[in-house]
């Protein structure tokens, strides 16, 4: 079973993940309509490109925007989760070994201590987000089943992976669960709010261009001061 899970299933889930997200990105761009949105996407490149880049870049930096600074708890939780969520799948030693063996692509890998720290931070971030989702009156108003579903879907690969890494028992079971939940995450990402993996960039770029092209980029001197 493990051979299937780690072999064909893994390849299939990667394909679904990448193709799915690519399709969503293409669908997003193709669905943009300069007349409807009233943004001259094809014009004023000198300010639209910096506008898009700043709109993405500043939000990737903790405290980089007034929005982040105004919500320190949310910010801490998001970044705790996302550093690990973005970096570990790519640079965890086990992952790089498998990647190199299967594709020949050799990525550098994190030292164990750093990987452990990132993983613990991500799990802490997830727990913080869950607590926030559960206790904040704002989030209680907004919560939907999908919010909880993606939170759990994200939690599982971290948790199972970390249990396997601790190796305190039932290793084979934990690693199998890790591979399975990881694949589940990959497969479902394009069809859930996890699609923000790519759509975050599209949406942020759009709003950055919107402000840079149309809403004052000319007078403001380019990018919006997020």
């Amino acid at each position: 079973m493990m051979q299937t899970l780690a072999g064909p299933c893994f390849v299939a889930s990667l394909i679904i993940f990448f193709v799915g997200l690519l399709v969503r990105a293409i669908w997003y761009v193709r669905g943009l309509d300069w007349r409807l949105e009233r943004v001259a996407y094809g014009w004023h490149k000198e300010r639209s490109i910096p506008g898009a880049l700043v709109s993405i870049g500043k939000w990737l930096i903790p405290g980089g925007t007034a929005g982040w600074r105004s919500q320190p708890v949310a910010m801490v939780a998001f970044f705790l989760l996302h550093f690990g969520a973005v970096l570990l799948p790519l640079f965890l030693l086990g992952h790089t070994v498998v990647l190199e063996q299967t594709t020949g692509i050799a990525l550098p890998s994190f030292p164990t201590a750093l990987a452990d720290a990132l993983c613990v931070a991500s799990i802490a971030g997830l727990i913080l987000l869950a607590v926030r989702r559960f206790t904040s009156p704002v989030l209680r108003q907004l919560n939907s089943w999908q919010d909880w579903f993606v939170l759990i879907l994200t939690f599982l690969p971290f948790f199972t992976g970390f249990m396997a890494r601790l190796d305190v028992g039932a290793y084979d079971t934990w690693i199998a669960l890790h591979v399975f939940t990881g694949e589940l995450f990959l497969v479902l990402a394009p069809f859930t709010k996890l699609s923000h993996i790519v759509l975050f960039f599209m949406s942020r770029a759009q709003l950055g261009m919107d402000f840079a092209i149309k809403r004052g980029g000319d007078t403001r001197g380019g990018a919006y001061p997020w």
Binding site: G67, S70, Q71, L139, R215, G216
Partner: protein, 462 residues
Amino acid sequence: MSQILCSPTPVTTKEGIHALLADKGGEEYYRQMRNLKVDQNALAFDLQKTCKSRTRTWLEICAHCGMCADSCFFYKTNNNDPKQIPSYKIQSTLGEMLKRKGRVDTEFMMHAMDVAWGQCTCCNRCGLYCPHGIDTGVMFSYLRGVLFKQGFVPWELKIGSGMHRVYGAQMDVTEEDWVDTLEWMVDENSDEWPGLEIPVEKEGCDVMYICNAREVKHYPEDLAAAAILFHVTGTSWTVPREGWETTSLTMFAGDWEGCAQNLKRIYAAVDRLKPKMVVGTECGHAHRATVVEGPYWAGRESGDAPVPFLHYVEWVAKVLREGKLKINPAKKLKMPCTLQDACNYIRNDGLGKYTREIMGYIAEDFREMNPHNEHNFCCGGGGGLNGIGLYRKERNVGLKNKLDQIRATGAEMVVTPCHNCWDAIRDMMEVYEEHNIKWTFLKPLLLKMMEIPSHIEHVDQG
């Protein structure tokens, strides 16, 4: 009253406007609305056309993180009512409509109307606080368009849209009224300012001035002030006979067809008179409608107006900078004063540096509100809310936020170069009985403190 007042059809006749105006407070209009059937197929079609990948993605990837809540003054002033969270407001209206593919009833549409006009001023502030770059204010504007097409629009904005369609202005000001008012203002002021004129329909000037019908109808002295300032600065200027109205209640109403009609009137004037630039009066949404969104309604691919369109604050900053307008240092504002940043041209057109430049010339004790500039809060009356009787109570609650902001600066004067902000600030002072803070447009201030160049004849009327 048996006449149909509330229907999906826009008002396009004087009779239609008079019938609506005769219905005091829109009582019968709203009664009819309660029985207005939703054309679900048309709604589904409109949603399809209105919500493409940007809007659908916004609605779908919203992480329900709640970061927009605190950015909304309605949420704050309603004791953090979860129903006032921007994300909730749009998801439960436009989002729900999309989910149900337009299969919604009259009650739902009326609720959506209450939210779209009574709980959002389209100030776009929440858009700055969303990590995913979701601009809920923009979506509300589209929701208004969808509701307008089905006839679910507040009474005053139904009238406003009709006014624009019938008179080419937000109020029933005809071309004769316009030209008469201009002549009257010249007569009224030429004793004090010999040689003052308001050139109508003059070709090839540097500036074509466009304004707000309210100025023509209710405070023509604002027109006179504009004329005097152009006169004193030696500006070659004109006003068009047609296409002088720069405001757009049609934008507030979601009447996109009406918006395009306004624009085409103004652009036609530009074509006729070929000015080097157009200057619009101290109005926020007018600038948004004419300069920011307008070029798109006129179908201009570049998104740029045919000639530079300046907001009044840009023009004032320019003439101050160039020394064409000089301020008498002794007459600068001594009292602590603050500045109201209008969402529509500060957050949404980046003109904050110009208003601050102006404050540097005219005020000795200028105090910023917190937050300010791009991150300012709406005055509380934007997006047409000031004018809607049905939501007066909701608006008055929201006004408290700006009042608190103003009070915190310790200012005794709020410089307010926007009609809507000006109204909202006037009303909040009245509603909350604050009698020690004044508010003003720029023009009257400048008239009082400018130095009159020696070559300009001025007869003191003391």
